[in-house]
């Protein structure tokens, strides 16, 4: 093992090409992972920010707010379910918003939420005609006190504060009281106007000690399957496009890891061929195949860790260099560690292809042919 580390230290040039390729692969992996995390965050932030445990949709809505309707009678049934402490209505509308004095075609993509429950990070709901805005809108020039005009009806709402990480399907969220939301809905989408006390979905807070998944099941049982209830975490995952994004990116990440395996396998296979003579000598003087292969794996692990370290610095640098809001990139420590683990596994698997070659090195080769 010491031998392997010394070779890495004293002949770094020998590993430079593989190290460079591994660094680029690691950077790609971290960048892809960061994009995935950023996309998921910008899609699900609003749902994750809800101060509730369970989301209740109508059963035919397929977990989509726009298709869902919860009537007061259904809500009363949910209220009566064991484990439910409180219910609150919620609805959302997506449309364009104009800033004062902006070009008429320069619209902000926003999602207006009307909710009876304040968010986790907010103490109280805004007043009538007021909204809390997602912080990403600051980069677009939205400021506190600004009046935004929503939708084709140009419904005015005043921004009274900002919330963090509350994007919805890539759009910045505005948070309003149910009354404000209904007014904007009526002015812009009269065909979708809901009756009094009717909401698109229900937020459920649980009684202490209750299990969210179990309560969700009980709600659907109590409503005779008229509802489809999900924990808030599950609801975030079932938002339109989220699973597709995850699947697509995870496939790309998988292919990248496979490429890393091939790179490590090829590099260390070549290195093993090149070292066959040295391995023969070392075996002749008493080295075991196990320790020679262990040295090979150690070199791959150290090389991969160093490459990931350089790539992590580059990824964080990219994250800082890219202007906020331009690309949904989110480099997190967890993503960097996950990428390292993937590549370490790839390195070990890649090395495994050289095992047979190491085992086959004949110590007799060190003292010429064996006649």
């Amino acid at each position: 093992m010491k031998l392997a580390l010394r070779e890495l230290r004293r002949q770094p040039g020998r590993f430079a090409a593989a190290g460079m390729i591994l660094t680029l692969i690691a950077l790609l992996l971290m960048f892809l992972g960061g994009l995935l995390d950023g996309l998921i965050r910008s899609s699900t932030g609003a749902v994750r920010a809800l101060d509730a445990d369970v989301l209740v949709f109508s059963s035919s809505a397929e977990n989509a707010f726009l298709r869902s309707r919860v009537e007061p009678a259904l809500r009363a049934t949910v209220d009566a379910v064991d484990g439910v402490e409180q219910t609150a209505g919620i609805g959302v509308l997506q449309f364009g918003a104009r800033m004062p004095d902006s070009d008429p075609r320069d619209l902000l993509d926003i999602a207006l939420f009307g909710t009876e429950l304040p968010l986790q990070s907010v103490d109280a709901l805004p007043g009538e005609g007021e909204v809390l805005a997602d912080e990403s809108l600051r980069q677009r020039g939205v400021t506190e006190g600004m009046v935004l005009e929503l939708g084709p009806g140009r419904s005015p709402v005043t921004v009274v504060g900002f919330t963090k990480d509350t994007s919805y399907l890539g759009q910045a969220a505005l948070w309003a009281s149910p009354q404000t939301w209904r007014e904007v809905l009526g002015e812009n989408r009269p065909d979708q106007l809901l009756g009094p006390d009717v909401f698109q979905a229900l937020l459920v807070r649980l009684a202490p000690g209750s299990d969210a998944a179990a309560v969700a099941e009980r709600i659907d049982e109590a409503t005779g399957a008229a509802t489809a209830s999900l924990t808030v975490i599950a609801a975030a995952d079932t938002l339109p496009g989220v699973q597709e994004q995850q699947a697509t990116f995870n496939q790309i990440i998988g292919v990248t890891v496979a490429i890393a395996i091939v790179v490590v396998a090829l590099f260390f296979a070549l290195l093993t061929i090149e070292r066959a003579g040295l391995y023969g000598v070392l075996k002749a003087i008493g080295a075991e195949s196990r320790s020679l292969f262990g040295g090979l794996v150690l070199q791959a692990v150290v090389l991969t860790t160093l490459s990931c370290g350089i790539a992590a610095v580059a990824a964080v640098g990219l994250d800082l260099a890219i202007p906020p809001g331009s690309i949904p990139l989110r480099i997190s420590a967890l993503r960097l560690i996950t990428s390292l683990v993937y590549l370490l596994v790839a390195a070990v698997v890649g090395c495994a292809f050289s095992l047979r070659r190491v085992l086959r090195v004949d110590p007799a080769s060190a003292i010429g042919s064996s006649s």
Partner: protein
Amino acid sequence: MNEQDGLTGDGFTEHAPAQGWGPALIMEKARKVYPMADSEVVALDDADIVVEADEMVALVGPSGSGKTTLCSIAGGILSPTSGRVVVGGVDISTFGPKQLTRVRRELVGFVFQSVNLVPFLTARENLLVVDELGRRTGAPARRRADQLLEELGLADRAKNLPGQLSGGQRQRVAIGRALMNDPELVLFDEPTSALDTKLGMAVMELIRDEMKSRGIAAIVVTHDERITQFCDRSVHMEDGRVL
């Protein structure tokens, strides 16, 4: 190999000899046969040889005569197809690969034809690699490496890489490496073939002095008759047979 406790486990115990006062090598009717498609090739044909504890034997013969095979079997690199091989009192005739690895690590020293030092290790580290491959002894091994380098006139070259050493110095480092495990038997495979005549003779003198001063047995494989003058006796081989 005078440390009795170094010969425990891996099948060594039942063979553990009274070390240091028997022949370094006993080979009786040792035979090595390689099966071919329709026939077989006899690389070593019932070879008998005894090398005493402090004896230096030149193994002479043309290419393909079986010198390397004999040497490989004596050094625990190859197993004989049949016959008996005893190294330092340990009967290794039936040893498997794992036990033979230990034989090479603890009972035998090798000096290869092309020296074959580890290129990225210093002279001192090339000696210490022997300790690192086996049971690490740490400080005693470092002391022994320093002592060997001193005795081989390489103390001031201890931190040099092989590439920074002359051919003769590299050969001396290789000899030091072969002596690191305090072997019963050192096998020299054409030790002067890569050196010019003058340096070759000097290296042979050094080998003879080192082996004799330590009382270690040696087999020097060579096809150069001039080398034989440095050895106690010559053993000739032809067609796999010891003549």
